[in-house]
Symmetry: C2
Subunit: 241 residues, 2 copies
Amino acid sequence: MHFTSEQRFEDGVLERRFTLGDIPGILWTPASAPAPLILVGHPGGLDRMYPRLVGRARHAAAGGYASATIELPGGGDRPRLPAVEQARADLHRALAAGEQVSDDVVDRLVLPLVDRAVPEWRTTLDALLALPGISGPVGFSGGVVAIAVRLAAVDPRIAAAVLFAGSFVPRATVEEARRITIPLQVLLQWDDEGNDRQMALDLFDAFGSAEKTLHANMGGHTGVPQFEGDAAACFFTRHLR
Amino acid sequence: MHFTSEQRFEDGVLERRFTLGDIPGILWTPASAPAPLILVGHPGGLDRMYPRLVGRARHAAAGGYASATIELPGGGDRPRLPAVEQARADLHRALAAGEQVSDDVVDRLVLPLVDRAVPEWRTTLDALLALPGISGPVGFSGGVVAIAVRLAAVDPRIAAAVLFAGSFVPRATVEEARRITIPLQVLLQWDDEGNDRQMALDLFDAFGSAEKTLHANMGGHTGVPQFEGDAAACFFTRHLR
């Protein structure tokens, strides 16, 4: 892990950009240490997502949490993944034509990202937990839900997660969800344009966790209400403190 | 409104039992005034429900809220409602036989309670808001969802509500829900024995409110997690303060 820049905000939060191999990432740490760590997911494109990510990270830092994120495979300036881009083009063509999105397209779009991203998150987690002032337990928040599900299924360091059931979900992810037993808070946008509400409810139903709460709110894909940030903080406080 | 007894708890909360005509009720007020008011619903049987009700009221008082409840028509020591008791017997017979509960049974069980309870809640609200130290805006929390929906539909003093989508819901209530526009937080127990999950989701979908959040948790009818008390407090703080 190689730090490439740093800045400190007026609230005392330290933002450090890093690279891990060829993967760019950002770490935000509060003034207080040791800080439990929240891994912050996103749909790809760190620069484009930065305003929202830094907002979430500073909100979390106010509660004493460190946050970290890395660029998605194929996202931002990382090498393109032609097969995934083809699948995304197929998806957009189906949506524009008002057609049902096939399971095949969803699998070709999401599963290669899961297969690549999960080992990257695990390597990142190794490096982050070796830093002074960063401690477990570790939470995961948001991003591509299939990545979060796989990561939670394979890495016992993930102790709790806030998931966003607003991505296209491969059938394999619904099956994988049955293996998850950590506490979950699952966000669903009730009127999400491109997504199937019933699929999201089926995913929520599939999770094996004894404690799982669905928070469904009105509005489209990007309309998650501000107060869900507070609800996520309450959830992580219950499980990471 | 006639106060019949009072006691003060060690946390400073004052509990006063009252009658309003022949309706018994309880008012809990925090040490601080003026306090916004939360009307606390329940399924009937004040004495049986008392331990849970006083818990909710003292939790709310810690946040600066007054709470009040009244006995349900036909509940506790109030005069029996033979037609409602017949409907309840029909309901239990259907459940025991593993039969589908008919719309007719649900209507006969719930609608007479709604027709009687809502005017009683409104008269109670008139009396409560005339007391020193109690102020609007007013929230409603829990209880028979059809009563809460009708009350919110007809009484503009109800500014926000936490509803429990865990009662049998008449079709008329789903229609009435379309008229509701106040902010809502709707609790659903995912594995509620006697209730239809899809009906609860349909009810949530029907509400006309721009801000409505569904909180679905694991477990049966009486298994609402403790942390939903904190979530309700956050919700009321956003809307009654």
